[in-house]
């Protein structure tokens, strides 16, 4: 119990420091207040033209697609991650050592950092954009099941973090890890559903996506947000898909731990 309280205190401190550190760059976050709505407007016109009077495409109607892009923009602000960049930078500059010397697990530190950083995202990106979407554009994007949505976003938060942390750890093994990270960013952009709802992909691919980490980062929480989940023609009740998402997160956490241990062996062995 004492241990947990101690850890929570560390988490709070690190998050707070990160928040303060980055609030000097709050205008960076506030760029989203312009960019988010503009992208949304473009998507709005594209999809309105695409539907052009059609009732449904791949099981989604126009209002759902519009809400989909609104929700995916908003959720992106809460889950966005650059743990990979931070970690590879620490490794390449040799500053990772300073964590090895302190009684703290770097992954825990990085997670706390992300909490602080995304809190900034909540204030300067999520909340303003939410009001722009609902009040200015008049789009209905209230989550259908608030509790499940929050849980799903939390799981997506964990998912993006652990995945990016794994990507960052590749820097222990490769001198040039930027290529791997960029390829991954590209794939996750396409297959997490940021650009287009995944139901538009060929059905075989949609099935395969269940076994890849990508949909659990954006598509799943966004569909939970909008109220009903379909992928590869399979409609799932919300609790089931969130449960599946939790399993996926658990698997990724396990993989991250295995890679972390292997990385530490390598780090202590060769002093990379």
């Amino acid at each position: 119990m004492k241990y947990i309280i101690h850890q929570l205190r560390i988490m709070k401190e690190v998050a707070l420091v990160t928040y303060k550190e980055w609030s000097a760059y709050r205008t960076h976050s506030m760029v989203s207040i312009f960019v988010g709505p503009v992208y949304f407007i473009v998507q709005y016109f594209i999809w309105t033209a695409v539907y052009g009077g059609r009732e449904q495409l791949n099981g989604m109607d126009l209002t759902q697609v519009i809400a989909y892009f609104g929700a995916s923009t908003l959720i992106g602000y809460l889950t966005m991650d650059f743990a990979d960049w931070n970690l590879q930078m620490l490794i390449h500059t040799g500053r990772f050592l300073t964590f090895a010397l302190r009684p703290i697990h770097h992954r825990f530190f990085a997670f706390s950092q992300k909490l602080g950083h995304r809190f900034l995202g909540l204030i300067f990106e999520f909340i303003p954009c939410y009001f722009i979407f609902t009040l200015l554009f008049g789009i209905d994007i209230t989550p259908k099941h608030v509790g499940w949505t929050l849980l799903s976003i939390l799981l997506a938060f964990l998912m993006t973090f652990y995945i990016h942390y794994i990507l960052g750890m590749t820097a222990f093994w490769f001198v040039q890890s930027s290529g791997i990270r960029r390829v991954f960013d590209l794939l996750s952009g396409i297959f997490s559903g940021v650009f287009i709802p995944l139901v538009f992909f060929p059905e075989g691919l949609q099935k395969a996506l269940f076994f890849l980490p990508f949909p659990y980062m954006t598509y799943v929480p966004v569909m939970v947000y909008t109220g009903n989940f379909v992928l590869a023609g399979i409609t799932m009740p919300i609790p089931v898909i969130v449960g599946l998402q939790a399993i996926a997160v658990a698997v990724v956490m396990l993989i991250s731990e295995i890679i972390y241990r292997a990385s530490m062996r390598r780090f202590n062995g060769v002093g990379a």
Binding site: F45, G52, Q176, L186, F200
Partner: protein, 263 residues
Amino acid sequence: MKRIKRYLLIYRECIRVAFASATTYRLNFFLNCIIMLLGDIVFPLITVLIYNSGAGFEGWSVYEVLLIQSIFTMSTALADMTFNGILWATMFAVREGNLEMALILPVDTMFILMARTFSIDAVGLFIGGFTIFTVSCINLPAPGIFMWLKAGALFITGLCVMMGIALFMAATSFKWVGNSRIPEIFESIKGFGKYPNNIFPKTVCIITSYLFPVAMIGYYPAAVLLGKEGSASFIVLIPCLLFLAAGILMYRYMVRLYQGVGG
């Protein structure tokens, strides 16, 4: 005349340096090329996915939309290679207080910053765009020579718009020091230039044709090749050139301001 010759010599030197740098990081260069080539497929991919699901933009076939997007990509690639680097060069110089190193050179500051950031990384992007362009052309009725010339002129004008945007971005970075998200602002507006104009409301079209003429980058050249746009499109040349001129003036003004107030 002598001045132009000297500037060309400087430019040649910069290109040589760009190649020398690229060869130092050969692996990284090829990787970048491939990633850019792939990244470049995202927009066309979405277009194809939309058309495959049986929907589409009214009055536009899939190849016609791909034509717009591939022209847009080629324009981006050429801009990345030749002048987009001015944004990062300026941003970096202002943040590090390094702009003096460019100002102490006896050449135009804007020119040298563009020339020095010449980059061949975007070659992959161009190849990708060109491939999609070729595929689209094969699947569309062949335009006449006059249409090609007209489209070429509009494409170059589109590049002027690109340069204007790059300069506006770089000028913004003087005031908004070290904000690496400046490009996103302009990139989001460019999104309007990647699709047929008729899907947007009239007001949006007026803005993207006359005020912030991003429609000239991809849409207008493609529309001319497809014979979809009459001679009206030549009127939109004027706001494009004015846009570039405004960008140049703005950038120069910011450099002067920097010299006046910098610390």
